[in-house]
Symmetry: C2
Subunit: 256 residues, 2 copies
Amino acid sequence: MSSFDLGHIAAHLEGLEETIISKLIDRAQFRTNIRVYQAGESGFDRESHRSLFEVRLLYQERMDARFGRFCVAEERPFNAKLPPPRRKVTLPATGLAVSNFNAVNLTADILPQYLALVNNCCVRGDDGHYGSSVEHDVYAIQAIARRIHYGAFYVAESKHRSDPASFDALAGKNDTESLLRKLTRPQVEERIIDRVREKVATAQANVNPAVRHVIDPDVVVSFYRETIIPLTKKGEVLYLLNRTGKRFTTQRKPRR
Amino acid sequence: MSSFDLGHIAAHLEGLEETIISKLIDRAQFRTNIRVYQAGESGFDRESHRSLFEVRLLYQERMDARFGRFCVAEERPFNAKLPPPRRKVTLPATGLAVSNFNAVNLTADILPQYLALVNNCCVRGDDGHYGSSVEHDVYAIQAIARRIHYGAFYVAESKHRSDPASFDALAGKNDTESLLRKLTRPQVEERIIDRVREKVATAQANVNPAVRHVIDPDVVVSFYRETIIPLTKKGEVLYLLNRTGKRFTTQRKPRR
């Protein structure tokens, strides 16, 4: 099945890099505006315990849920208790072997890392553009989450197919450390890092810095290195631990 | 007042170019998927007369309205009868002289032009990614509308301030043709066109065409030439015709 060809998956992940970069650049056109992350400062009636960012993310996800976004494996929501889809969503079979996509949901890890990233991408301060800031926050964080979850599901399933017995054995022993080691390919990671650095620079090469805030490629590179790549692998491990139809017997009875 | 300095306004318009370009590139990662523009094909119960695109735009604008988006002059909605803001929106005075921002609302002109643009940006066909297609449609069309309306309001007010008597005289005679002529600066338009062409190329320079669909810079250039620039000027004329506090007497009684 071509959708589990590792080259195909890597190509899709590569294509998501531009999206993440452009959404971070959009967010960076506004100040950090930390007030939008402060609980009780949303200005919304009946949302006194949430920040404006949290309200925006919740409302966006409620809308997205009605459109069926979360029927897609790699679209994992940040909020629970979302409404059911209001349209008939017919998606091709994924081939993924997991009974509940939310067994692999890294959003709780992504959120604090993203908020730290905002601090490094944006100019510190308050420009009053609260609505625009949280709008772009939501688009950026959704793009990041999509990349992490797509990798978690599809890279893990692909690698599992290449060596089901060993992966099942490690998952059966709950040996997350060995799984992580087996999933790690430092050369691939370095190639991603280099490509991202170049893309952030190129995407802004023709920008007039008097007009647009230019973000430092190293900020995005660090985010890939310290958040996107590790969380993708954490998700791969989660996927393998939660994979249905584990064949624990294959080790003892190798097929001829 | 610096917000009506023409250089400042041009710089802001220039900064919006990257946003429009990146959102069109995002949309172009999906096929045309014309089914999403067909009425009655949304799959939504109780939305049998709307297309999926129309439903998405409506739901997005309902959410945006609750966040106060349309309190901002350049954020003009495509839909009427939207809910009021649910947060207290405190915005600095714009200095614009118009009693109702919707006197300058070009969205009915933008919509069909945008749909034609999709046909030229995207690979023809159907890939089933309906939800993603309309999601990106909405982000792209909102970015385009923001650019057009920002120009319409702020360029017109800026130019009016430089020569109020002549503009008021032409507006008083409803002489839209002369207004349009007086607002047109062919050299500036050519500079925008050249810059946009270069930006579309640069933004995609490092893209792997096996992974991402690359859009033709000329498609975006034509859209600027045939839609964005003319509609911005149409908006400027509308603004001047609807400008409050016209000083029709200035021609007869020049101030000393």
